[in-house]
Each structure stands twice: as structure tokens, then as C-alpha cells.
């Protein structure tokens, strides 16, 4: 296990370097310069002043020199300062990260709590009405333009019924509430974003756990368990589900990038104070340091998530450890 972990960690390094190269190249190859936002607005600026400004940020050097300078600062977690308000990009992200992590963890929890029972029940009641209804739900889940669903739910619950707030994370009078009030307020603000963020994953995971369960309950040892007179609940939960749901861990890891990616739309729609909205706003205002920081950190977070999923899987299932 330790050897495997070490191997995975060594594999980690080239991928992180690759992430920084891609982020840098994407930004570098994009038309326009970071200083354009300043210079284009100023009609009186001379060519000389433009060059001086470019030299100030090192933009006159070849791209690989710029890359290595960026990496050098990166290794000290210095992503540069935001063009918008001059504050360090990393600080802006760290402020937003907890909200994004909270949203994603809650969504993962919702996915697990709902999708696994659906998957298991669909499998043991294969081809019944419930199974068929769930299959329809899964297909709709895969095909749903989630931003549109978000819009409809906001209208329905937020405006028509007035049940839930439709933007932000706190109410205006949040500071004056007691602990219980604060929790309820937070939950009400989180309900729709969590549901929307988890929606596609919900469909995917219930499908996956269903087919995984279907494979397992065909096995001989399940028949044996039934034959020796164990009650169905024990067979399903103790013998079948344990084996069938192990690979689910990996699938959860793989769904991370799409969840973080979805954040760029959903956080914007719900005016949610997370990293996704920060990234979207940075793109719209061409805030280079913040864009690069969000890209790098989102990718590294995904990588860590996948690593964690793989390690958990290996830890839980000794069969694959020695391959």
C-alpha cells in the first residue's frame, strides 16, 4: 500500500507540471496582452509607454522565460496580483474556496445518499415499474440543460412560491441571527445550488450502481447466501452492495471536474460566492493572474480528488493492490 501510494505521488509531479504548462499556454496563445485592458482605454498612450509597460510585467521576454518566472513565483504560491483590485490572486481564491468546497461536498453527499439506494433498489427490482421510471429519470438527468433547470427552480421555489432565497449564501440580516437561525438560513440558501450541482451526477451514479449491482447479484455467492436462508436485506446489504459499490468511489472521483466545471455556470446563476463565479468574473474582465490561478487550482484539486479516490479504492479492495 505504501509503495503504491509513493508510486502514485511520483506520477503526480509530471501531471502538475503539465497542468501549469497548459494553463500558461492557453493564456499565452490567446490574442491580446494582459496590459491591453489598461492601454486600450487610454487614447493618449504612446507606443513607447506601451513597451515600457510590457517590460514592467516581463511580457517582452520569450514565452519560456515568462513561463519559468511564473513557475518560480508559483512555487511560493504567489499567483500575482489581481488586475482589478491589486490584491493577491491566491488570497481572493482562498476566500472563495470554502464556499465552493462546501457546495461540492454537500452535493457529493446528496448524490451518495440518493443515488445508491436508487441504484440498489432498481437492480433488485429489475424491470419493475420502479426500475423503468428510474431509467427514464436517468436519461432525463443526462440530457438536462442544468442551467435551464436552475432557472425554472429559481422561478418556482424562489419567486412563485417564495420558499427559498435565489441568490447568495446569506441573508442580509445574517449577522444578527442566533446559531440555529444561521444554520437554517445557510441551508435555505444552499438547497437549490446543491440540488443543481448534484443533478447530473445523481443520474450517472444511480445508473452506475444499478449496473454494478446487476452484475454482482448474478454471482454464485449471492445464490449461496439466499440458499442458506439469509433474509434478503442481509444478502443485499452485506453481501452484494459491499462488493458492487466499491468501484463507485472511482466514479465519484471522475465526476469532480464536471462538478467544479459546472460551478462556473451555477455559481454565476445563483450569485454564489464561490471559486467558479470568481473564475467567470475574472474571464469576463480579463484578469489574467486570477484566471490562471483559478485554472491551476481547480485542476490540482481535481487531481487530488482522483488520487484520493484511487487510494481509497485500493485500500478498500485488496484485489487490485498488487496488479
Amino acid at each position: 500500500m505504501l509503495g503504491y501510494t509513493l508510486k502514485r505521488l511520483i506520477h503526480f509531479i509530471p501531471v502538475v507540471i503539465g497542468i501549469t504548462v497548459i494553463t500558461f499556454l492557453v493564456m499565452h496563445l490567446s490574442p491580446g496582452k494582459p496590459t491591453d485592458a489598461v492601454t486600450d482605454m487610454n487614447a493618449k498612450i504612446t507606443q513607447e509607454a506601451k513597451l515600457r509597460l510590457a517590460a514592467l510585467y516581463g511580457l517582452d521576454r520569450p514565452w519560456y522565460v515568462q513561463y519559468f518566472n511564473w513557475i518560480k513565483r508559483l512555487s511560493a504560491l504567489d499567483f500575482g496580483n489581481s488586475f482589478k483590485d491589486g490584491r493577491p490572486a491566491i488570497k481572493k481564491i482562498l476566500e472563495r474556496l470554502p464556499a465552493t468546497l462546501l457546495l461540492n461536498f454537500l452535493s457529493l453527499g446528496l448524490i451518495l445518499a440518493v443515488a445508491l439506494p436508487i441504484g440498489i433498489y432498481s437492480a433488485i427490482r429489475h424491470r419493475t415499474f420502479f426500475d423503468k421510471a428510474m431509467t427514464v429519470f436517468v436519461f432525463i438527468g443526462f440530457s438536462m440543460p442544468t442551467f435551464w433547470l436552475a432557472l425554472l427552480l429559481m422561478i418556482l421555489f424562489g419567486l412563485k412560491m417564495g420558499l427559498l432565497p435565489i441568490s447568495g449564501l446569506h441573508s442580509l440580516n445574517y449577522a444578527e441571527m442566533n446559531l440555529l437561525g444561521k444554520t437554517i438560513d445557510l441551508a435555505r440558501h444552499l438547497a437549490l445550488p446543491v440540488l443543481i450541482t448534484g443533478f447530473t451526477g445523481l443520474a450517472g451514479l444511480s445508473r452506475y450502481s444499478r449496473s454494478s449491482m446487476l452484475e454482482v447479484i448474478k454471482q454464485d455467492y449471492i445464490k449461496t447466501a439466499y440458499a442458506k436462508g439469509l433474509p434478503e436485506s442481509a444478502v443485499i446489504l452485506k453481501h452484494a452492495a459491499r462488493n458492487a459499490l466499491l468501484p463507485v468511489v472511482t466514479i465519484l472521483g471522475l465526476s469532480l471536474p464536471s462538478m467544479i466545471g459546472g460551478g462556473f455556470i451555477f455559481e454565476t446563476i445563483f450569485a454564489y460566492p464561490g471559486m467558479g463565479r470568481l473564475g467567470y468574473e475574472a474571464i469576463m474582465s480579463r484578469d489574467y493572474p486570477v484566471i490562471m490561478a483559478v485554472g491551476t487550482i481547480a485542476a490540482v484539486l481535481t487531481l487530488l480528488g482522483n488520487l484520493l479516490a484511487d487510494l481509497t479504492y485500493t485500500w478498500a479492495d485488496p484485489r487490485i493492490r498488487y496488479k
Binding site: P14, V15, G18, I19, I22, V26, M27, S30, P31, G32, F139, I140, F142, S143, M144, P145, F147, W148, L151, L152, I155, L159, P257, S258, I260, G261, G262, G263, F264, I265, T268, G279, Y280, I283, M284, R286, I291, V294, G295, A298, A299, V300, T302, L303, N306
Partner: protein
């Protein structure tokens, strides 16, 4: 073989529903100029925000444009984005995956590492960056979606080639001294077509969803050219007075993507060799 596949096609309800919807969409797209009761860009400020009626089947928008006519045009946008983007990603994914699986060694390591790296990025963010810095228009959207969606396919094709490589007919071809080039295109390629077909069909749906998301954020197809996602954004402002502006384009996206997903899943059932064996 072909007859059996055709019968399976007829019997499979997923494929049937999926294909029917897609065929209807293609027809509507082809005939959109004929079928449109009004011009796509024709404004009529006298009839702004009219609810659905016999005169305007799906109502009119804030500039008095006929929603039905604009949605017909939107089919063209969605289908072209879906097919072109998937075409690009299939081309890259198949080539890289086959090279990676067939030649192995250093080349395989490099390509697979690249796939790992690409899969770490939330692709939507990469697409957002590139589109925002290039000019947002339909061509850039197609190309960028295509250029970011190949890594999954590369992995799939590589795995397929790895297992094919060990099979007798490839071994035999090698022993006969057939060139790598011939083995690659004549013997391997036809055998990886079915998984690619399934992945590509599902990919069309994903590309359409991505395009509508981009257009919803104002970074996709630019007005006045109608795309369903962009019609949703425009309609959002009038959601209280004109529900039809927010309902119909969303339903159109949902059902189009659903059709491609049904077709893809159905094809998977039909083309899965394990299932074929069981039936014969």
C-alpha cells in the same frame, strides 16, 4: 450480419425513438426556410411578447420576432455545433488512442500523460477562457468544444486497441509481414468503429449541452443569430410576462440531447459483441 444488425435496430426501442427524433430534427433543419412562417430576423415591434397563438405558434419575443421560426433556425446551430465538434474530437481521439495503444512505449506514456492532464481541467473553464479571448462565434465554439473533448475517447480507443493487438488475426497479419500502416488502417480501425460510434453519438448530445451553456452565458453564438441557449438568456428578462420564451428553447435542448443519448445507449446495446453472441 447486416440483416441481423438491421433487425436489432428495428427491435431496439431506444434506437427507434432516438433516430425518429433526430430524423425529424434534420428534416426541420433542412426545410426551416420553407417552414418558417416568419423571417428568422424579422422584427415586428407591433406584436411584441405575444403569447402562443395560431398566428405565432410559440409566441413572439421582445422584438416581436416569431419564436417558432427562430427555434427552427436554432436546430441548425445545435446540430452543426454537435456534429462538427464531435467530428474534431473523434478525429483526434481515434488517432491518438490508436497510436498510443498500437505502438506503446514512450509514445504511449506521453499521450496518456497528456490525457491525464487534460482530464484534470474542468473542460468548461478551458472552453470559457479560449472563447472569451477569441471572438465568441459559432465557428470558434465548434472548434474549441472539439479540441477539449477528445481525452475520454483516446482512453477508450487505446484500451480497445490494446486488447485487439493480442488477438490472433493481428498476430497473423504481423507474421505475414503486413506493414504497420496496413494493419493500422485495414485491420485495427474497422474493429474500433463500434465503441467510437457509441461515444460519438453520446458526444453530440454533450456538445449541444456545452454550446447552449456557453450561449446562455453570452459566450456562444452571438445575437441576432438564434441559438437555443442564447434565446433562453434573452427570455430570462421577461420570465414573468412571457413564460414561453424560457420554456420552449429549454425543452428543445432537453429533447434533442435526450434523442442522442437514447440513440447512443441503444447503439451500445446493439453493438456490444457480448450481447450479440447471447442472441445468436
Amino acid at each position: 450480419m447486416i440483416k441481423r444488425a438491421f433487425n436489432a435496430l428495428k427491435e431496439n426501442r431506444l434506437v427507434f425513438y432516438g433516430l425518429t427524433v433526430i430524423a425529424v430534427l434534420f428534416l426541420l433543419a433542412l426545410l426551416s426556410q420553407v417552414l418558417s412562417p416568419y423571417g428568422t430576423f424579422e422584427q415586428n415591434l407591433g406584436s411584441r411578447l405575444n403569447p402562443p397563438s395560431l398566428k405565432h405558434l410559440l409566441g413572439t419575443d421582445d422584438l416581436g420576432r416569431d419564436v417558432f421560426s427562430r427555434m427552427l433556425y436554432g436546430i441548425r446551430i445545435s446540430l452543426s455545433v454537435g456534429f462538427v465538434a464531435v467530428g474534431i474530437s473523434v478525429l483526434i481521439g481515434t488517432l491518438l488512442g490508436m497510436i498510443s495503444g498500437f505502438f506503446g512505449g514512450k509514445i504511449d506514456t506521453v499521450i496518456m500523460r497528456l490525457v491525464d492532464i487534460m482530464l484534470c481541467f474542468p473542460s468548461f473553464f478551458l472552453i470559457l477562457i479560449v472563447i472569451a479571448f477569441l471572438e465568441p462565434n459559432i465557428y470558434n465554439v465548434m472548434v474549441v468544444i472539439g479540441l477539449t473533448s477528445w481525452p475520454g475517447l483516446t482512453r477508450l480507443v487505446r484500451a480497445e486497441v490494446l486488447s485487439l493487438k493480442e488477438r490472433e488475426f493481428i498476430q497473423a497479419a504481423r507474421l505475414l509481414g503486413i506493414s504497420n500502416f496496413r494493419i493500422f488502417f485495414i485491420h485495427l480501425l474497422p474493429n474500433v468503429v463500434s465503441p467510437i460510434l457509441v461515444a460519438a453519438t453520446l458526444g453530440v448530445g454533450d456538445a449541444i449541452l456545452t454550446e447552449s451553456g456557453l450561449s446562455f452565458l453570452g459566450l456562444g453564438v452571438q445575437p441576432p443569430v438564434p441559438s437555443w441557449g442564447q434565446m433562453l438568456t434573452a427570455g430570462k428578462e421577461y420570465i414573468y410576462v412571457a413564460w414561453w420564451l424560457s420554456l420552449f428553447p429549454g425543452l428543445a435542448i432537453l429533447f434533442t440531447v435526450l434523442a442522442f443519448n437514447l440513440l447512443g445507449e441503444g447503439l451500445r446495446d446493439i453493438l456490444d459483441p457480448r450481447l450479440l453472441k447471447r442472441k445468436t
